[in-house]
């Protein structure tokens, strides 16, 4: 298993702890299915904790963008937490860093949805 996802509820925010690789194939599709499942259940506040993501490729970046727009199209918000240096660098060179709301502190990130 290239990626492990764990969803937990913090107030009215769902935090998804992502561990492993978000890459073409299993990793990207697992994240896509998880986000679509939450959106279909009406969840509008989603925080993606990427602190334990060791690798992300262009397909994984595409899933983050797709998740962002899917959630936004349903009137919700998808935010990112705990980016590793490599993920942060990738989002910066692809100019996506300013598209996402990014946080280093979970309590602060959860509070930002209020």
């Amino acid at each position: 298993m290239s990626v492990k996802l764990n969803c937990r509820q913090v107030g009215d925010v769902v935090v998804i702890d992502v561990e492993g690789k978000i890459t073409l194939g299993e990793g990207s599709s697992a994240l896509r299915e998880s986000l679509r499942d939450l959106v279909s259940k009406g969840q509008k506040k989603i925080l993606l904790n990427l602190g334990n993501v060791s690798y992300i490729d262009s397909s994984g970046i595409g899933e983050l963008v797709s998740g962002f727009t899917t959630v936004a199209n349903q009137g919700g918000r998808l935010k990112l937490l705990n980016l590793t240096k490599r993920v942060k660098d990738l989002l910066q060179i692809t100019k996506l860093y300013t598209v996402f709301d990014v946080y280093d502190d979970e309590a602060h990130a959860v509070g930002s949805f209020a």
């Binding site: 194939g25 490729d57 262009s58 595409g62 963008v65 490599r86 990738l90 692809t94 100019k95 996506l96």
Partner: protein, 143 residues
């Protein structure tokens, strides 16, 4: 000393992983530092993904050829598919405001960002070759 490898791989996602592992191993043996290993690995992953998914379209009868030549001065990687080819100049710029939220289209951009040289050429009768070069500590630029 230059280490060279030439392999034919199936058009599967497993080949993407194994090609990345192969090239990173050669880059490491050639003395490339950790940050470069990540960049080279990612460039190979992206080019292999393009070859398998867009080039050969997972066709079990088509192969991806990867050739690697590594020395402390220069790491050269060629990835060739047997697909219908693509025009690199026609790819949309992923940094343009209107393209920022597109799901795909960042692979070639990332290869260009991570490698020192990037060339694409059509193969006859069909296929595309992507040639990528990363310079080592003592660059040996192409003449």
């Amino acid at each position: 000393m230059v280490k060279t490898v030439d392999r034919l791989l199936d058009s599967t996602l497993d080949s993407v992983d194994s090609a990345e592992e192969l090239v990173v191993e050669i880059a490491e043996q050639s003395g490339f530092p950790g940050d470069d290993l990540h960049k080279v690995g990612m460039a190979v992953r992206e080019s292999m993904a393009n070859a398998v998914v867009h080039g050969n379209r997972y066709n079990a009868h088509k192969k991806v050829r990867i050739r690697v030549s590594g020395s402390p001065e220069r790491l050269e990687i060629s990835v060739s598919d047997q697909g219908n080819g693509f025009d690199c100049e026609c790819l949309p710029d992923p940094l343009q405001e209107t393209n920022l939220l597109r799901q795909s289209g960042r692979g070639i951009f990332l290869i260009r960002a991570f490698m020192d040289e990037f060339h694409v050429r059509r193969l006859e009768p069909s296929g595309t070759e992507v040639l990528m070069v990363k310079y080592g500590a003592a660059p040996s630029k192409a003449t």
